[in-house]
């Protein structure tokens, strides 16, 4: 039996007059990695951003319903929603503090006890494999880390608030092969604890890590399903064309 954590119903998103998403209906399974693929400008990134309502911060307008564990997220306090649905952005975003302060930025706000902060930092840095690299330099400015390390720090920081779901928006597009592999392996580990939704333009990446795949075009879902089935036997013509095109 599949366990569903997130379900969208007729989700529409528009910027002013411009409609970006048109009636999205889909499900996300617990403890799986779901990859969202599609040509650029298809709305995949907007879709991801609407799942924790950050799209509204960019001036987008949301309609429809999104259920997180059977509660409509439009009725949830924004803070609780964003705490349970974390997000990692395309370019690594680290705050201009030390590594340690980056990690305790959110827990401190949520009132974690001082004694526990250290544990939180170490535990989450370990999950991203960053701990061994930086354990002697926790007071170093985070902006001095390499791009790959910064992205892993961003992921670790996102884990500090104990999210259920992690959204990643093309997290590897600015990284080299080695760092990409690092992050992919890490995501495969993390999916035992979290539900992961990743937007990617890299088909082979989707193939390597995703359990399920959603293919979008022009603001709609064209096809979705298990990744093996979809990559081997796409049903829809547009999916076929896109996959062919991307492979060549």
């Amino acid at each position: 039996m599949k366990e569903i954590v997130l379900k969208t119903e007729d989700l529409c998103v528009s910027y002013g007059q411009k409609k970006i998403l048109k009636k999205i209906n889909t499900l996300f399974e617990k403890n799986k990695i779901t990859a969202i693929i599609g040509p650029s400008g298809c709305g995949k990134s907007t879709f991801l951003k609407s799942l924790n309502r950050t799209v509204e911060e960019y001036g987008g307008n949301m309609e429809g319903k999104i259920h997180l564990n059977n509660v409509n997220i439009m009725d949830m306090p924004l803070q609780n929603l964003r705490k349970s649905v974390g997000m990692v952005f395309q370019l690594p975003i680290v705050f201009p503090f030390s590594i340690y302060n980056n990690m305790i930025y959110a827990p401190k706000y949520f009132g974690e006890k001082k004694e526990k902060l250290n544990d939180i930092v170490i535990k989450n840095l370990k999950k991203t494999g960053l701990y061994d690299e930086v354990k002697d330099n926790l007071k170093m400015m985070a902006t001095k880390l390499s791009g790959g390390q910064q992205q892993r720090l961003a992921i670790a920081r996102c884990l500090t608030v104990n999210p259920e779901i992690i959204l990643l928006d093309e997290p590897c597009s600015a990284l080299d092969i080695k760092n990409t592999a690092n992050i992919e392996n890490m995501l495969l580990e993390l999916k035992n604890e979290y539900t992961i939704i990743i937007v990617t333009h890299n088909l082979s990446q989707a193939k390597r890590i995703a359990d399920n795949v959603i293919f979008m075009d022009e603001g709609q879902i064209i096809e979705e399903g298990n990744q093996n089935e979809m990559f081997d036997n796409p049903v829809n013509v547009r999916t076929k064309e896109y996959l062919m095109y991307m492979r060549n």
Partner: protein, 290 residues
């Protein structure tokens, strides 16, 4: 750990913003309200086109024309001086001086903006006015010319900083491409950079002009302050000087007092027109170089 409260923060911010807005509106309200009695009583033809300003005589006449002309005269003069110097200096700093040197020079020019205008007035009085009296055989050195020269120095930072910034951008964008065609450095500057920066130079000059129009102390100290029609080597008075000099003596709520508020209103209208033009030109410019 103290619990942080979002609502309190929002309320504090909003109260602060509202308070500032009220103060801003209050200023405008007072200027309009206090000049109303004068505007009602004196016909616009008289105060804009009349000949003399003698508010205290038995048959008072209120004409701002000498002061308006004086203000515009000295401001235009300042712009005419600062324009070639400022633009030339911006080129000089962007293209001919080492980057580290030009940074130091620019920060000194910027510091000029921080020097209180009363100090410039003092400088004008002891250096420029004296020079005029000793070398040009003038009875009194206090004149529109000195005011213009002094103002132009005060406008250096406003013109040069902005222009140098634009030229720096233009250099990054086009300099190498132009140089690779084999033309001379001077030709590149003259043809490409000048046309690239023309718009922004113009806007900078307009803003500097609106600054010149509102300048009070420096101009007041070197121009002699006679409410007569301005000549280059004669005394004249500007609107800000008029306000600063007569406010202390005008009786509260008298027509004289209201007239001074009207003078302020006229000044604001002049500045508003200049800023509006600058805004429009700026918009046009940013469309051209996208």
């Amino acid at each position: 750990m103290k619990k942080y409260n979002e609502n309190i923060f929002r309320i504090v911010i909003t109260i602060g913003a509202i308070l500032s807005s009220i103060l801003v509106l209050l200023v405008f309200f007072y200027i309009l309200n206090e000049s109303l009695p004068f505007l009602k009583k004196v016909c616009w033809k008289e105060f804009l086109l009349g000949g003399t300003w003698s508010p205290l005589s038995s048959n008072p006449s209120f004409s701002f024309l000498p002061m308006i002309l004086g203000t515009l005269y000295v401001s235009f003069l300042a712009i005419a001086i600062v324009m070639p110097l400022g633009i030339g200096c911006a080129f000089f700093l962007s293209f001919l001086v080492k980057k580290s040197h030009s940074k130091v020079i620019l920060s000194f020019i910027d510091m000029l903006a921080g020097i209180p205008s009363v100090i410039f007035g003092f400088f004008g009085l002891v250096v420029l006015v004296k020079f005029m009296e000793q070398n040009l055989d003038m009875v009194t050195g206090e004149s529109v010319l000195v005011g213009g020269i002094l103002l132009s120095v005060m406008l250096f930072p406003y013109v040069i900083t902005g222009c140098a910034e634009t030229l720096e951008k233009g250099k990054e964008k086009y300099y190498i491409a132009s140089q690779s065609l084999g033309v001379s450095k001077w030709y590149t500057m003259r043809v490409i950079m000048l046309s690239y920066a023309a718009n922004s130079i113009f806007v900078n000059l307009l803003l500097a002009f609106s600054r010149a129009v509102g300048e009070t102390m420096a101009v007041m100290m070197v121009m002699g302050n006679s409410p007569i029609f301005p000549r280059l080597l004669g005394r004249a008075e500007t609107i800000p000087s008029l306000i600063a000099l007569e406010m202390g003596t005008a009786t509260y709520k008298s027509i004289h007092y209201s007239a001074l508020y009207t003078a302020g209103l006229i000044l604001i209208v002049i500045i508003l027109i200049i800023q509006f033009i600058a805004y429009k030109v700026n918009k046009m410019g940013s469309r051209r170089f996208k």
